[in-house]
């Protein structure tokens, strides 16, 4: 007999109720039971970060979380970033700074950065602007095989600066 569990979860503000096997990962539940296929699986052992979602405000590897563990949780996925058809500032910055090529790792980086920036890490501890080193350290949580990371770091920095009230995120031409 399969070990089945009822789960209530809110994804991008929308409530879902479903029954899942105990061993089903949150990633598979989101992707295949609920249709949020924007969350990607790159390693299924917690290293690459492609499956990063925001789970109750914190970035989480959805491949390392079981679906049942998300019972009662608020989940944000990449599908929840845009305002309808309008890209968020972070999404736009990724395009402006050529922070994606094949696009497979992109949702994970977006959710990682979104969670970080939402915690108002827009500036350093002493109020100074987010440094490239800090943005690099953040981006080092996930793997990208296409870009060499420079565009990703630039996009995160530009979004942080814009949200902190500096210049626009779309400032400067890519590269």
């Amino acid at each position: 007999m399969k070990d089945m569990h009822a789960v209530r979860v809110t994804v991008n503000g929308r409530g879902h109720e479903l029954v899942v096997e105990a061993r089903r990962t949150l990633a598979d539940m989101l992707r295949h039971d609920l249709g949020y296929t924007g969350t990607h699986l790159g390693c299924e052992h917690g290293i690459c970060g492609a499956c990063t979602v925001i789970l109750d405000g914190q970035p989480a590897r959805s491949c390392l979380v079981f679906g049942v563990q998300a019972d009662g949780a608020q989940v944000r996925t990449v599908e929840g970033l845009a305002d309808g058809e309008r890209l968020s500032d972070l999404q736009q910055a990724f395009s402006d700074h050529h922070a994606l090529q094949c696009g497979f790792c992109t949702p994970g980086f977006l959710m990682l950065a979104e969670a970080y920036l939402a915690e108002a890490h827009l500036t350093g501890a002493g109020g100074e602007p987010l440094t490239e080193e800090q943005a690099r350290e953040l981006a080092a949580a996930n793997l990208c095989r296409c870009t060499g990371y420079q565009g990703i770091v630039e996009a995160i920095l530009a979004t942080a600066r814009a949200r902190a009230g500096g210049n626009g995120a779309a400032e400067g031409s890519p590269a």
Partner: protein, 794 residues
Amino acid sequence: MGHQVRQWVGAAVPRKEDRRMLLGRGRFVADLDRPGLLHAAFVRSPHAHTAIGAVDTEAAAGLAGVHGVFTAGSLGHPYLLALLERDEFVPTPMPILAGDVARFVGEPVAVVVAEDPYLAEDAAELVEVDWDPRPPVTSIEAAGSRDAPRLHEQAARNSMVDLLMFDDDDLPAIFAAAAATVGGTFESARVAALPLEGRACLAGWDDRDDQLVMHVSTQVPHQVRSGVAQALGVPERTIRVIAPDVGGGFGLKCVVGREEVAVAAAALRLRRPVRWAEDRQENLTAAFHGHEQRYRARAAFDSDGRLLGLDAEIDCDTGAYSVFPFTCAVEPLMAATELPGVYKVPAYRARARAIATNKAPAAPYRGVSRPQIVLVMERLMEKAAEALGLDPVEVRRRNLIGAGEFPYRGVNGITYDEGSYAEALDLAERTVRDKAWDAERDAVRGTGDRAGIGYACFSERTAYGTPTMSQRRMRMTPGYDTALVRMDPTGEVIVTTGTCGHGQGHETTFAQIVADSLGVHPNQVKLRQGDTDLASYGWGTWGSRSVVIGGGAARRAADAVASQLRQVAGSLLEASPADVELADGTARIRGDASAAIPIGELARIVHFQAHRLAEDLRYGLEARVTYDPPGTFSNACHAAMVVIDPGTGAIRLHRYLVVEDCGVVINPMVVDGQVRGGVAQGAAAALLECVRFDAEGQPLSATLMDYLAPTAAEMCPVDILHLQTPSRFSETGAKGMGEGGTIGAPAAVLNAINDALADTNIRFDHIPVLPQDVTAALRGSAVPPAGSRAGAGR
């Protein structure tokens, strides 16, 4: 034609691909769904070399929800056979599922198909196989010994191809008389391409179209179709291969995987859609690897540092089988043919071999032997400079093919089209000086850390069509591509090609090329590729071929449609077609501001009011053109600075500069992205990445905790400067550049490491250089001084 304004080519047009990816609406194979979809899991060999006895599938097949378990026998022993039409080549059929023998850990032996991927994995564990392990062969050294086990009966001493590509009777005399002879053994580790999306495949029979529709994460949809058709003995028409969004390839996906054929076979037998999505462990162990090579090379120089002769024994560990369609010869052929690189080599000898070992087969991973040959040549330059007491940059300069020497016919029989080899080196050296890297290096040295600067000069042969590819003598000779350009009745443009982008921005760059020809906005141009039913037979995306060949074909086809538009406009405006200019969505008569007609209106008339036009102008706006160029060389010079912590041996990339010349730049943002991503892969090959095995052939790097790919923390910003030397061998003037970053970085980084150790007798000639290599060497381990191993192995 030819007088069209180029408005979009050269502009950093934002990528059309980005939006769907950013919204989470990319469509990768694992994202697709089908009614009644079944899931495949493979039973794989746990031994590097083993006979296979009875395979008991009963328990697995009996599990509720399991729809089929297939073995080599039950599938009729299908195989993929890649062939080279050379006497020195030993064919090694790659079974779709291993039958009597498994030749590496991870080789598939059975496939289980079930209603749920979790269940399929459960059932795969229930398959009982009677293994009878044999001694494995796990290194080039061991493979060639007289008593080494044979992987393939027909391959004596495990040699799958042995090519004496070039020879020169004068070489012994040249070496005897040379002012300096330098050399050594140069090695690069086996690495994994590691696209973030693993391989994946979904196949299902379509009764209406009478064909098997396969969605495959591939760089080569047509070759997957050919491979599946050949392996299963069915006509190509009965298979349609579609590459949806593909999450990176880097060469791993430019060969046909046996899993793809197995899934196709299962779907045909079950008449249900079946999907397989490779997990990371499978990807790191049972997919394809590359770049495991050893060079025993030496070079003769005169007292001014000029190259007199070059001699190389090249051994490539290509794993257990020849990959389809390229064969195991792809690495040795590339290495031997192109070793001289950007330098003038008067006399040359090269022997290159592919050696079979009990490891996963090698595929043409990004760079294909060029990272290694550049490393060898750049180390030889450094060693010569050291031996002769010359400046290493000056030694390079004295040997580079000069600006006035193009087209240059090399000792290797290759004609090099115009490049900027010396200019790139000069600019790199000047930039490093202007940015005071030397002062920074010295400052770091003052802190007790070690620091070094390294250079690498190289060219990248790209976009070779059949005139060049045919020299390899492959049974399936790649090279050409065909573009179909159509304008619809609203003036929008649809382009199909046989190329298959997966991150390179084709949807944007091809649209830029076509938009310029037709005088429309790139947003009005939609590229459709990666579908064997949409596009004419083509060769996919690899070898830095797509923008040159696919883009060149698209340019020619678009020019043909532009010519049709000019004739229609000339007819309607009562002017000569030669005076019609297509720009900004409008056909205008030169010199007559009032005579103009929107291009959309022309398209409408051609389709809906054909009777208004002469018969030869009616019924559509479309052209299909094939392009099959000989190939063109882009070139670059890389400079790297590394900082080494002598206590831990940690090597940090500190500065990086690329001066590159890919001819006409279609989209500078895309080019820079390709360069930076390539540098990350190349630098990581020098510093981190290594597929490891134990003595029994068991993989030791089966997870991303053990196989270290670079993160943002290991990379530094990469500065890029462009030179533009257009190619006469390219329709657009563009040269391919998809691999250059990966090609130049290992040598530049390795030279920087050696520069950081210049005051010691430590010189590294292998990659990756790991922290433990540095600390061991600094502790005084037996690392010989540079050059002392000259002529090793002779």
